[in-house]
């Protein structure tokens, strides 16, 4: 997996405007705020002193201190031991809770603005079920008003996925929720690809008067299998071509072995997009809900030796031991998914705890655009149904960073990691907690958004 290359870039973008505002007037306002914020955040180290640090990886430090410098965390520890670097701005955060920026493992941020307004939606292509050559990175709208709303509640990173109407709707991106522009915010393009097998992809399903393939699960599976077979075939054609080309190059001076220059196969963007997944270089996000769909999807993935994580499995309670035996992480839920008619009310609420008890690594996702800010609520609610608190917090921080291949940079308060840090007035998993300040790559995010501006305008 390609590692994020933009992280260090952000640190040099000291005079850039942070995106995510709407009216011209507010753009100017925020620009001024940003400049003033950046003026001290960019150049000077920051010491947050006196708060309760939830490090995620090495416990809680009750009276802690943390240094953000050059966009990284450069020191973490007890307030009595951490020294302020020369020229540091010291912020007293006594009484506050400090934790790493939260990571949402599936969102549609930047792909929609107003759900019901189709012109604002770039969620999924419906012309075919196999669309692996769609790149969410190429639709990602960095200036979306939704992004500041999400990051004001401490969500600093997110996976962007197309909607799940297709079996292979296209490729995900991994973003940071602040930056000068889309390039800077898109930490990893094409980091993963959903493979959806929930039954919802049967959009051609209808009566016998509707005869469009595929209309059944058999059809969807056959179509998918054919796509991967085609990709295998495509790969061997290219391998063959590369071999012949090398062969020709090697023998170009020997008259008797001279062969004609081989013809390159025609490029096929769809099949090309599948190759890194067929080769196990990138992660498939395998979505299913019920046991039967889950087992079918897993067997398809195994047939082509795909590297995968599971998604949803909200109605797979009867086969959780099987899920555990797969030894793959699960993006669970959302836990608000309604249980089946005959099931107890808390069947899905308790799914994260049941997976955890079987040793499965879990993460949460908002599966949303407008409600990304509510990601921590889901983690908190899962604790009321048996998930240990520390695991709930990990499921929106370090576990997600591990699944998405960025654990060396994100997901905990550890020296050397990107300084995505949240300061709140209490427990990050409680709905009542108010986030006071968010730092992304060491910079103070302006704590305002479209909604704050409306509030202030009508509070006068």
């Amino acid at each position: 997996m390609r590692q994020p290359s933009a992280m260090s870039v952000q640190l040099s973008a000291g005079n850039s405007v942070w995106r995510g505002h709407c009216s011209p007037r507010s753009v100017i306002l925020i620009w001024i705020l940003s400049l003033s914020a950046l003026a001290f955040a960019q150049d000077k180290p920051i010491l947050l002193k006196g708060g309760k640090l939830l490090t995620v990886t090495h416990g809680v430090i009750e009276n802690g201190a943390i240094v953000l410098y050059g966009g990284k965390i450069t020191a973490v520890g007890d307030a009595s031991t951490v020294r302020a670097p020369a020229g540091a701005r010291v912020i007293d955060v006594t009484g506050m809770t400090i934790y790493p920026g939260l990571i949402d493992s599936e969102t549609q941020l930047g792909l929609t603005e107003i759900s019901a307004e189709e012109t604002s939606n770039d969620l999924v292509e419906l012309s075919d079920e196999i669309m692996p050559h769609m790149h969410t990175a190429e639709a990602f709208h960095a200036e979306s008003a939704l992004i500041p709303v999400a990051r004001m509640n401490g969500i600093t990173n997110a996976v962007i996925a197309p909607e799940s109407a297709d079996t292979l709707p296209g490729q995900d991106s991994f973003i940071q929720l602040a930056g000068a522009n889309a390039t800077e915010m898109l930490l990893i393009r094409d980091n993963a690809m959903p493979l959806n097998f929930t039954g919802d992809q049967r959009r051609n399903k209808g009566g016998f008067e509707k005869h469009k393939f595929p209309s059944t699960r058999m059809g969807l599976a056959a179509q998918l299998r054919q796509a991967f077979l085609d990709a295998q075939d495509y790969k061997s054609k290219w391998t063959d071509y590369e071999r012949k080309k090398a062969d020709a190059a090697q023998n170009k001076d020997k008259d008797k072995d001279k062969k004609p220059e081989p013809l390159a196969p025609k490029r096929d963007l769809k099949l090309e997009a599948l190759l890194p997944y067929l080769e196990g270089k990138k992660t498939i996000v395998l979505a299913a809900e019920s046991p039967s769909d889950l087992e079918t999807a897993v067997s398809l993935a195994n047939e082509f030796k795909l590297k995968f994580v599971l998604n949803h499995i909200s109605h797979s309670q009867p086969v959780l031991d099987y899920v555990a035996s797969l030894k793959v992480p699960v993006i669970v839920g959302p836990i608000y998914e309604a249980p089946k008619e005959e099931e107890r009310y808390d069947t899905v609420y308790s799914l994260p705890a049941q997976l955890y008890e079987r040793g499965v690594k879990i993460v949460f996702a908002s599966y949303s655009a407008h409600n990304v800010r509510n990601l921590p609520d889901q983690a908190g609610f899962a604790t009321a149904f048996g998930l240990p608190y520390d695991e709930a917090l990990k499921a929106i921080t370090i576990n997600a960073a591990e699944i998405w291949g960025v654990a060396d940079q994100l997901g905990s308060l550890d020296v050397g990691k990107t300084a995505n840090v949240v300061v709140a007035n209490g427990d990050p998993l409680d709905v009542k907690t108010d986030v006071k300040q968010v730092f992304i790559a060491g910079r103070e995010v302006p704590m305002t958004d479209r909604q704050v501006r409306l509030r202030d305008e009508y509070s006068k």
Binding site: P334, Y336, A338, Y345, H370, G380, K432, Y458
Partner: protein
């Protein structure tokens, strides 16, 4: 696909109306548990007169007979030890479309006041149970928002497992659902029918109300003739539609309006004045914070979301401070679900108002109990822990105004309907397979 539920909301949000004037007083006569009960050792959150730590409640014949640090109850009373946990009134959801088997919108005409949601009410719908498990004891089931004037609502108690009539809130006042804005104009506009604009919306509404005025006049004339002894007087033809609208104009039905934009709220207020009826509540009301003073002046409550926004154009100016800002301006605010999902955790939604704008614990709790009870018109019977009120109560595992509070036991009319510690569904009246 996860965005879809927010979009379906678009069609649901609507209205309701009526409540069952004809429902007989079922609550007290039958039932399994109208013996004496004492709940002791609870942190009693009364809603109206503060919290009582280590409090007790005495329940007699399904009603709250005493509340305090100690209560006088017969020795024969069943005792429930709350174990120091929180006790609140049952949650009231003032905007719901569950248990209607998707018969939410009769979207064949923009004026359908003769629709009775009771006729679609599916008392066995598991959504009633799932909401009960979230602490909801009373819901207002409304018509959808496809029509400018939708149907008449039904008020239910979540007595899952009881008979249909036992689930109907006895003698609840009637409510009707009006709508406005994007939904009616989209539904009819997409068919090249009236209305397709907001002007069209209000014209259709006004036209219907004018017809109702005429209808009332016809009946008044007839009644006058009969009074004068005119034996030849022939009565006007009964028209279900106009009967319902006439009752709106006569003030016999409470008007619940699906509405988003502030300008439309002002127009609806003007329309109500023009025809002489009162608006009970604006539902959704995401821009109430812009015109809160006018709502207060007209005694109009709101039933709103805590933080939903952006799912449609008219929800673009939604802010999570709406509930608290409106409260500070004197508006009676309810947090409602409009959703089979959110109705299961309205306590969390209410708790968000404590964060956004600093609602007090009591204000937040009121938004899911006494205030929605007022919107439904049953605040004299439910919504707080006061002597004489129905014993609709929730014992919480955890602090209810948080992410962590979940109901442990739910009682309705003093009868235990949900108990988390029970195996299976946790229901005490409904048995699987029945």
């Amino acid at each position: 696909m996860r965005l879809i539920p927010a979009r379906t909301l678009v069609l649901y949000c609507a209205w309701l109306t009526m409540a069952l004037a004809s429902a007989a007083a079922f609550g007290q006569s039958e039932g399994t548990a109208h013996h004496d009960i004492v709940i002791k050792n609870a942190i009693v959150m009364t809603v109206t007169h503060g919290n009582i730590t280590n409090g007790s409640i005495y329940i007699k014949d399904g009603k709250i007979a005493a509340v305090g640090e100690t209560v006088n109850a017969p020795a024969s009373a069943t005792v429930i030890d709350a174990g120091g946990k929180y006790l609140t009134p049952g949650i009231v959801d003032s905007h719901s479309h569950i248990a209607l088997d998707d018969d939410v919108n009769e979207a064949t005409n923009p004026i359908t006041p003769q629709m009775m949601m009771k006729d679609a009410f599916d008392y066995q719908d598991k959504a009633i149970y799932r909401a009960l498990a979230g602490g909801v004891t009373t819901s207002l089931l409304l018509h959808g928002s496809a029509n400018m004037i939708g149907g008449q609502a039904v008020v239910i108690k979540h007595k899952y497992g009881a008979s249909r009539d036992e689930l109907l809130f006895p003698n609840a006042p009637r409510s009707i659902k009006f709508a406005s804005g994007e939904n009616p104009k989209r539904v009819y506009g997409s068919r090249d029918q009236l209305p397709s604009t907001r002007m069209g919306n209000f014209a259709v509404q006004r036209e219907a109300l004018v017809q109702a005025q005429d209808y009332i006049r016809e009946w008044d004339n007839y009644n006058e003739k009969v009074k004068r002894g005119d034996k030849d007087a022939t009565p006007p033809k009964h028209d279900l539609k106009l009967d319902a609208l006439a009752d709106v104009l006569r003030g016999k039905i409470m008007v619940q309006i699906h509405i988003y934009r502030a300008d439309e709220m002002l127009t609806e207020i003007a329309m109500a004045k023009e025809f002489g009826y009162k608006i009970r509540a604006f539902h959704h009301a995401l821009e109430a914070y812009k015109v809160a003073d006018q709502l207060t002046a007209n005694n109009i409550a709101i039933a709103t979301f805590s933080d939903w926004w952006g799912y449609k154009q008219e929800a673009w100016d939604a802010i999570p401070w709406n509930a608290t800002m409106s409260t500070r301006k004197g508006v009676r605010v309810a947090i409602k679900s409009d959703s089979e999902d959110y109705t299961r955790r309205l306590n969390q939604e209410a708790a968000k108002t404590m964060r956004y704008g600093g609602a007090t614990e009591e204000e937040a709790l009121k938004m899911i109990t006494l205030n929605p009870a007022w919107i439904v018109g049953v605040d004299d019977r439910v919504g707080s822990i006061d002597v004489g009120k129905d014993a609709d109560l929730v014992i919480w595992d955890g602090y209810p105004l948080s992410t962590y509070g979940v109901p442990e036991k739910v009682l309705i009319d003093g009868d235990l309907y949900f108990d988390r510690s029970q195996p299976g569904l946790g229901t005490t009246h409904y048995k699987e397979g029945e």
